[in-house]
Structures are given as structure tokens and as C-alpha cells.
Symmetry: D2
């Protein structure tokens, strides 16, 4: 039985940016306790991996070992590359007391879509059990789940902007999303597209109309709204470390009434603590370091423009993961979830 007020959690994949964010959030979480840290190689301590943790956390970093995880932890966060995540989930799910929040792409998509975007899937059994961890849309399923597929950053920002308006779309009409992400989304790997000189004073689109988050957005919107809409998705890299905007362009069926989209959004999300409806276009900074998704909408004729802002590492990854862990642990979902932005 889970001790509700002192749950041991493992962070597997502790060396990356989302791993660091998980550590930071859980260090300040009143009920979760980091019992196990691992990377693919293992070695050293938390503060050797992340120098900002010097004097804060000196836990040893282990090489991933399933039995050790099972012995030490009740909830496991996986911040691993896809494929590696799948192999780890498959083994960990064999321990019945373990619950998992997987931050990779491995359990986000239906089998057929997964194959198209990422290739073969090796753990169909658990794929069918996984719940997509976007609480505003799938809260009740999350609470019952043992395996959470934590959403991608672009899908989180985009789905939260589009979902409220699905019922106003013309049947079969496509959805245009122009997204902007900070560089931390590209990960800690050093390569041309993360080199300071490439990014600084620059901005550009990448993988336009071909990004792997496109089918994720399409699938979840279809599940939620009951109808398929093609998504045309163009992401851009922006010279900031963290932050994400999703600019959505929808064509509204003029026969349906939608006079004041902001008022409508307020109503739609009225019970959602981590959605803030803004009277002006949201900014990256107002949500940086928090789990908030700020949303704005404006209509002109049949065109509806919706803009959402999240922190790609927080709501787009780690704070949403901890919130999902709160839900599966039976806590109030906002316990220990950052709300105070790092402005200025």
C-alpha cells in the first residue's frame, strides 16, 4: 500500500534538462522524495551532473537497474530517449507496485501512428494500457492509470488551445499551427542547431509540415472531439532557453455562435487551475518556470486565432509529469507544482 504522504520516486534519465527539472520540482514537493537517480551510464552524484545542485543534492547517480528501482521506488519518472524508454517500461511494469510517468514519445500514440513516426513498437501490451497525461482532457483515466504517457511539449500547448474550439470547426477542415520553441526543447546534445552562434540573433522553422508531434496532436484532438482534422504544423526555434508559443489558426463555421472567444474559453476552462485565460496574447515569460498554460483568442470573420504559451520544460514536460504523478498517487493535483514564474 502506498504511504500517501511520503512516496519514494525514481528519476531515470537524470542528466538531461527534463531530468534536472524533475529533480528540482521533486526536491520542493512536500510528499515525493527522490529515492533513486539513474542515467544510462551511471556514475557521480546529482550535483556533479548539474552544478547548480551543489550543496543541495548529493545523491549518487546509478546505472539503470530494474531491481534496484523496484526496491527503492513506487513511482518512476522516465526521461529517456524513445525506444530506450520502451525497453525500460516493459521491464518495470512487471513489478506490480510500480507506477510510471514516461516522458518519452513511446506510449503517446496508437500503434499505427507510432509505427509511421517512430518505427517498430516493442511493448504493445503496455501501449494499450497507457493513458495520455493531459489532465484537462483525460483526468479521470490518468487517476486510474499505472502508466502515463506524458505529452510532448508542442502537443500540450497546441491541444489546450484547439480543444475548446473543436466543435466550432467546419467538418473536415484542417487546423494550422505555427509554433515557437525555446532551445532547451532540442535537448542537451551539442550540435549545430544548439550551438550558441547558430541560435543567437536567429530564428527559423524546422521540419515544417513533417514534425513528429503533428500526428500526436491530430490523434488526441480526434479522441477528444470525436472527429478527425488534419493538422498542419510548423515549429520554429527561438533564441530563448525555455518557453513555447503555439499560434493556432482555425476556420469557424459561421453558422455556430461564438461571439466572445475569450469569454468562451473562461467558461470552458473554469475549473482548471493551470489554465489562465488572458485578455492579451500570452508571453513566454509569464509562464516560465510554471505549469501554467496561458491562452488568448481573437476572432475576425470566420478566422479564429488562438495563442497559447507554456514553459516547454515544465508544462511541456516535467511539471506536467509531476502533476500526473500527483493524480496517480491520489494527491490534489496542484501539490508541489510550480506556479510562480521566473520573471523578470
Amino acid at each position: 500500500m502506498i504511504n500517501k504522504f511520503n512516496i519514494n520516486v525514481a528519476i531515470v534519465g537524470a542528466s538531461g534538462f527534463t531530468g534536472l527539472e524533475l529533480i528540482k520540482i521533486i526536491l520542493q514537493h512536500p510528499f515525493f522524495k527522490i529515492s533513486y537517480l539513474a542515467t544510462s551510464e551511471g556514475g557521480g552524484t546529482a550535483s556533479q551532473l548539474h552544478s547548480s545542485l551543489f550543496g543541495i543534492l548529493d545523491l549518487p547517480v546509478k546505472k539503470i537497474n530494474f531491481d534496484e528501482i523496484a526496491k527503492t521506488s513506487e513511482i518512476v519518472f522516465l526521461a529517456l530517449p524513445h525506444k530506450t524508454a520502451m525497453e525500460t517500461v516493459r521491464e518495470l511494469m512487471k513489478f506490480p507496485h510500480i507506477k510510471i510517468v514516461d516522458l518519452s514519445a513511446d506510449y503517446r500514440l496508437s500503434h499505427s501512428r507510432y509505427i509511421k513516426s517512430y518505427g517498430e513498437h516493442l511493448d504493445l501490451e503496455n501501449l494499450n494500457k497507457a493513458v495520455y497525461g493531459l489532465p484537462e482532457l483525460f483526468r479521470e483515466q490518468i487517476k486510474q492509470a499505472r502508466l502515463i504517457a506524458n505529452p510532448g511539449c508542442y502537443p500540450t500547448a497546441s491541444i489546450l488551445a484547439v480543444a475548446p474550439f473543436l466543435k466550432f470547426l467546419k467538418t473536415g477542415d484542417s487546423i494550422i499551427i505555427d509554433a515557437k520553441s525555446g532551445v532547451s526543447g532540442a535537448g542537451k546534445k551539442c550540435e549545430t542547431n544548439t550551438h550558441y552562434v547558430t541560435i543567437n540573433e536567429n530564428m527559423f522553422a524546422y521540419n515544417p509540415l513533417k514534425h513528429r508531434h503533428e500526428p500526436e496532436i491530430e490523434e488526441k484532438l480526434e479522441i477528444f472531439g470525436g472527429e478527425f482534422h488534419k493538422v498542419h504544423f510548423v515549429p520554429h526555434l527561438v533564441p530563448v532557453t525555455r518557453g513555447m508559443l503555439s499560434s493556432v489558426y482555425l476556420r469557424i463555421d459561421n453558422n455556430l455562435e461564438l461571439e466572445d472567444p475569450i469569454k468562451y474559453l473562461r467558461e470552458f476552462y473554469k475549473n482548471e487551475k493551470f489554465i489562465r485565460i488572458r485578455e492579451n496574447p500570452p508571453t513566454m515569460k509569464d509562464v516560465a518556470g510554471t505549469n501554467f498554460c496561458d491562452i488568448f483568442a481573437r476572432r475576425n470573420g470566420d478566422l479564429l486565432y488562438v495563442e497559447s504559451a507554456i514553459d516547454n520544460l515544465m508544462r511541456g514536460a516535467s511539471s506536467q509529469a509531476v502533476l500526473n504523478a500527483n493524480l496517480i498517487a491520489g494527491f490534489d493535483e496542484f501539490i508541489g507544482i510550480p506556479q510562480i514564474a521566473i520573471v523578470p
Copy 2:
């Protein structure tokens, strides 16, 4: 008679960013010579206005005086706020030997559109004579003009991206443009939205669906293509000093053939020295400091995505202005126009 190879030019409004860019370009231009610099207040020298010009240009900065301009100059660049520009043009046009490139919004729009966006117009006579200075679309008229309305930065980037594809649009269909601009576009004025702390590590939309460049884009596309399309325009501020992307989303009439939009763009712009068709989405840096407009396009079903990149201060203002001056002076248009980007 104009001495073709040593033309005296005035820069009126020399204190702002576009004024500085004009100075820098003309200093390196083989045939233009700065004969007169002015600001609304006057006083000091060029290098006191712009400390980077120390040791380079110590010309005195005058308070605007129409007779002095007429005496000293054949071509006048106006980098003034709208309204002020109009009052200056009206007086300068009385001197028949003077030709003007106006960088303000005052002569860009038809009268009716001007009134809606900017209020009353005080110089209808010259408004009717002005030619819109986008050379790829209106080169022959520019050559004959005495007064050039130099295009806005957003319209330049957007029109060059959209114009080639106008004939593929469904009749009456609207055009979606998601644009991104560096902060220099907001001018030298110190205010919250130009404060370093507001912009740095941040990004946000402003005036979505309501920006004054929207009607400018609509009007010029209608003139060029012969049909009106509503433009839905959302600009964003990006934490870079200079640079602009225009991301365009069009719905293509599937009955028309457009198999390879990049190949088509190459053909469309084959004689244009300052358009570069890219095989990958263009970047702000590759055009920074130059007059280039780099364009990329990709199609998926009936959705056509086009992305263009310019330097907002150069192709979006000052280098395009000097190029227009080349045309009205009878020079090859590329004389003295920057082509080498400031990468890295």
C-alpha cells in the same frame, strides 16, 4: 540635370535605426554622397548621434529646412514618423529637381485605406503620384517615379512570399500570415516593450489581426493579383535585434497544378537578384545585413506553407530604399546594396 555618378542625397530623420542604416549604406555606395543630414531637432554631428560613426562621419546634423535640402540634394530619404513625413513631402515636392524615397507609411496606401488605419491625409496630390517601392512587383513604375513609398517591413516579407502563389488560391479565400520581427522594428523609443528585460527570454504576439500592415499587404496583393483576398496577420516580437520571418499559410485550389513549389518559385523569381529560393526554411541570420529575401515553400495536400526571411531594417526599410533610389537615379539596382550577411 542629374550627374549620374555623384548624386547628392539628404537623409532626413537621421537619428533612428533606419536613419543609421541609410547612412551606413550610402557611405559605402559608389555614386551617392550624403550632402545633408537632419533630424527634427537638429544639433551635433552624425557621430554624436551614432557613436559607432566616430571617426567615420562628422557631418553636422541640421534641423529640417526645406530650402537647404533643395539646395544641397537631389534625392531625399525621409525616415520620419508618419504625418511628419507627409508634411515634409508636400513641401519638398514643390522643388521639381527633388526625388523622394519616403520610408514612412504616408504614401503606401490608397486614400480610403489610409484614413482607416492612420487618419486624415494632408497631401492627396502626391499620394496619387507615389509609387509603392517593391521592385519585384513594381519596378517599371518605380523607375519613372518622383516619390517612392518605401514598403513596410512586414509587407515586404509577406508580399514577396505570397505574390507568386496568388493565382493558385481559391477565389476569395483568405491568407494567414504569422510573422516574427526583431526588436529594432519597434524603433529607438524607450518603452516597456523595448526594455531589455521585457524582451529577453521572451516572445509574444502583438496587435493580432489588427496590425496596420495588414491592409497594406491586402492592397498590394490585390493590385498585383487582380483579386482581393482577406489577410489575417499576426505579428510577434522576437528577442533578436534585427531579422524578420513571415510564415504564410495558403489553401491551394487542388484543380490547379503546383507540384513543386520550390521549383515554381525559382522560375517565378528567376531574374531577381535579391530573391533567393531556399531548399530549407530560411533563417534570419542568412539575410541579416543584406537586401536579400530568402524564400522556402512546402505543400501538403491543399495547404501551402511559404516562409520568407528578411532583415527588417534593410530589405524591410533602408537597403530597399537605397535600391529604389538606384532605380529612380537610373543606376543598376544592385549598385551599393549590401549582399554579404553579418553571420556569424
Copy 3:
């Protein structure tokens, strides 16, 4: 009598960057509660002043009123310009139950030094009672104080780097400090030196050898070490929002033993939770968002180089202020003080 576990605090001067940081820290502090927010003008709510607080704090913002402050609050944080601070302190000190942490320069200096740097002082009575709020050097006095002069950002970083080595200096030798500050240190006021275009891709010194923090450093080091050393201080503005480095160059008396300055620092600060001795030069990011001061030292011959890093808004202002409030309230000093950096 102070209720130790639920103390009402006022933040006067809530509109600036340090005001916002105070709000954010106290919102997360277990024992302090914001009972009163004020600005010089008053009006609106906390979230109207700071849009990131939307949904977090909607407390009304009052126009400064001494009686209201006295009625609502036990501890008052003043984040006001100097002079204004002094006038406010003078009035508030008349209420015997009130304790004050003043973030301005008004109570940091001896009378004679104050006059030279800032002009006339209007509250000599309290000037003599104020304690300089640098806990590592003056902890016991702080605990007894009613009025804390919270140190400047440059002095905090510099004094913590120099103080341990004072006894190794040659008698009368001067101290060289080359400091670097993020732009938030220049405040929220919009002016040329805070314009994005001025700062971005730029760096420069300002007020070299003439900055008003120079005498503050000299005075406090003299008080602590018992001997006067001239400080030569050159601050630079760096294109980051928050962060500060202080690079100190000292000449060591070769007759004194100092083999391993890092080891020595560790010993000197062994009981200090918010000092971290680094084996490599500290970085701005490792301390951003925290109260830490990270220090490194290296010696070559008689030259000792010491580098310290702080967050100018936190250890250099607001988190140090709250720590001082902890001390005067009798709490453990680290209660509610941020320790987790905002990396990445």
C-alpha cells in the same frame, strides 16, 4: 508580541523588479504573509502590476500610507528609491512594533560617506541605529536590529569575495574589482541603457572608478577588517536579465601563508549555508534565482584572483532582504529562502 509563525509583512515599492522578487519569495515563505502592498501611486492589484502573478495574487496595491502599514504589518520591506526610502523609514520607525528591511542605499553608509555619494541625509537618528544586512559578517547585530540596511548587489558579491582575504593584504594596498551585472540591476525604467537594442549583443563598463557602490564596499570592509583599503571598482553591464560576477584582484603579502585559497575559503565559510566554494570559476546561472553566493579563488605569485557570483535581484536584493527578516523575526535564516537555481 510577534506571532512567530504567521507574521504580516508589507512590501512598499511593489512595482519594480526587487518588489516583484519580494512578492514571489514571500508567497512561498511558510511564516510570512503579505498583508499590504504599496507603490508611490497606488492603484490596481498585484497581478495588474505583474502579469505573471495573474491567478496567484490579486491583493490591491495601495498608495503608501503609514498608518495603514502600521495597522496591517509587523515587518516592512522598502523597495523604494533612495531619499524616498529615508522619508518613509523616518515615519515608520515611530511605530515601535515595526521592523524594517530597507533595500535602498539610505542607511547603508556612515553619514560622511552618504553625503559625498548621495547628498544630505534627513534621518540621522535612524541612520545610527541601522545595521548593515550582510549576515555572514554582521549576523548578531542583524538579529537585534529594528532597521536593516540591505546591502547593494555589487557590495554583497564583492565583500563576500574580499572579506576572507583581508588579513593577507599588504597594509594600505588597494583592491581592484571588475564587476559584471545583468540588466535588471538598472531597474524597470525605460531609457537608452535599458533598451533591448542597446544591450543585446553588447557589453560595456559604466561609471568606472566612480560608482556609488565603491565607498559602500570600502566602508564595510574597513569595519570588518579594521583597516582601510582603497577599492578601485569598475562595473560592466552584461546582456543577461539577472546575474552578477565580481572579479577581485588582490596583492597578497608574500610573508603570510596562503597555500590553497580554496581550502582556506572552505574553512572561512564552513558554517555558512548560502556560501558555496567552487573548484572552478562560478557561473551566473548556477546561482540564478537563489540566495547563494558561489566563490572561487586562485593564486599566482602575489596575485590573488577571487571570483564570486550572485543573483543581483536575489542575494543582491530581495532574498537577502527576506533572510534578514528571518533573522530579525527570530527564525532560522534559511526558512523560505530560495536555493534551487533556475537552470537551465
Copy 4:
């Protein structure tokens, strides 16, 4: 015999940042013509190496071949790593018509200092012939040289700041230099210290008191001034792409007269076109993209503070290299050398 007005030059090491800067400068140089481009691997064209050159330069990029270089070129710029540079110089110097500007460290130091900092030297013969390419100090020797050792960026900024004041130093006193460099100085290699997320919103010292430019500064100052002074050198990495400040702290012999250091600097450098003496601390931006070195000085008692600013890629590498090539080719040194900064 050299045709003075159309000299073929080779750029060997064309893929890095300094290689690109060389290409850009020479493309705009009236008398130099790029006849040969090479990298260690070869392959592709200039615009495939550097996408900003698309449409500008499509010269093929060769694998380094000494005979080809000798056949095609009269002046060779080497932008290669040290050691590789040395091996290339040794071969190229066998062709008597070839003159070389080497941007590496290989010929900058005396043999004994080279060994200490970089290890064995394999080309002592040419090491003895090489001239250090700092024109303000060694112009006449440069004009006669076949092999120029182009100075490092830090030494250029530092020596130009210190040299004028050498005669005021106390005998044997050491020199303190706190330097700041943009990230392009770290080269195009992708690694942790060039990752955007490491650099952005950050600043830190590296190799303090141990950087390999320290002996270069010491040696050249000794040669110029006739006396050895120990240099204590601490470089910092700054979140800008290009730019460099050198903050110098000197102790002046109070017996010598130096009332107005700015006036003195003006006199010292009165014939130097690429030195600008500033009345305020120089900024990175005012010299970005140019060959200028801007210098400021201020004295307080026996402390003299001097601050210089250069563009690390230009005056610190490529534009100084082309200027040296001008000198060895017998041209006026300022022909084709960038003077107009890339502000804003």
C-alpha cells in the same frame, strides 16, 4: 612579380568563423581576389559551407594541396588549428613567391614560450622569420615579412590598451587584465561551452591566470617596452556572438606625469586610423564588424584603468589579417578593411 592591383589569395581553413570572415572581407576588397578555398577535408562549395553565401560565392572548396595553392595564389591566409598551421606553413614557404598570414598561434611566440604553452615546434626556421602582425607596434617589420603571425584576439585588445602606458609602470610591477569575449571566439565546434543553453543568460571566467594568451601578451609587451612585466590574465565568456573587451588595471609610478590619460592616448595613437580614443568606456557594438580598437582610460591615484573594445573575429582575427596582407602587398593598409559597425 606581384600585380599590385589584382592579387590572388588563398583561404585555407575556410569552414570556421574566421575563415568565413576572411571570405566576406576579401569579397569586398578591391584588389584581392579569392583564387582558392580549402578545408582539411575539402568538398562542396563556399555557399554549402556557409549558407549566407548562397548566390554570392560558389567557388569549390578543395582539400588542401600545396602545389595547387602555389599555382593559384600569391598570398595565403591560414585559418587552421595550431600544429596543422605549422605543417602547412613549412611546406608553403618553400614556394618563394608565396606570402602567408597565419591566424594560428604557431608563429606568435618565441620558441621557449611556444614549447611551454603548446608543446614542440616543428618549423623553427620559419618561426625565426615570422613577424607579429600587430601593425601599430610592428608596422615596418610587417611590410618586409613573408610570414605574418596574426595576433590572438585577447593579445590584440590587451596590448593596444597597455602598450602606451608601459613607460609609466613601476619597474617589475605586474599587469592585471580582466577580459570578456563573445562566444564565436570559442569556435564552431559544438560542445558544452558553446551550447546555447550553457551560454545564454550566463557568464563565467575560464582558465583564469592560465590562459595561453597570457605569455603572448607578456612577450610582445616586453619586446615593445623593453622590460618584462608579469601579466595576470582572466578571460570571461559573454553571451554575445562577437565582441571583446579588455579591462586593464595598471599601477602608475606617481613620480611620472600622466595627468590626462585620454589626451595622452590621443597623442600616442594620433597617426593610427584604426584606433579610436573614446571619452567614455567603449562598447562591443561600436566596433562590431570593424577593424577598430576603441580605447578609454581613467586614473584614480596610482591606479590606471584602461578599457579596449574590439571585434574578436575582425580586429582579433580576420580584418587584422587582411590589413597585414595589405601591408605585405604594399597597399595602403586601410584598403578594403571594414570600418562601419553592424550597429544596431
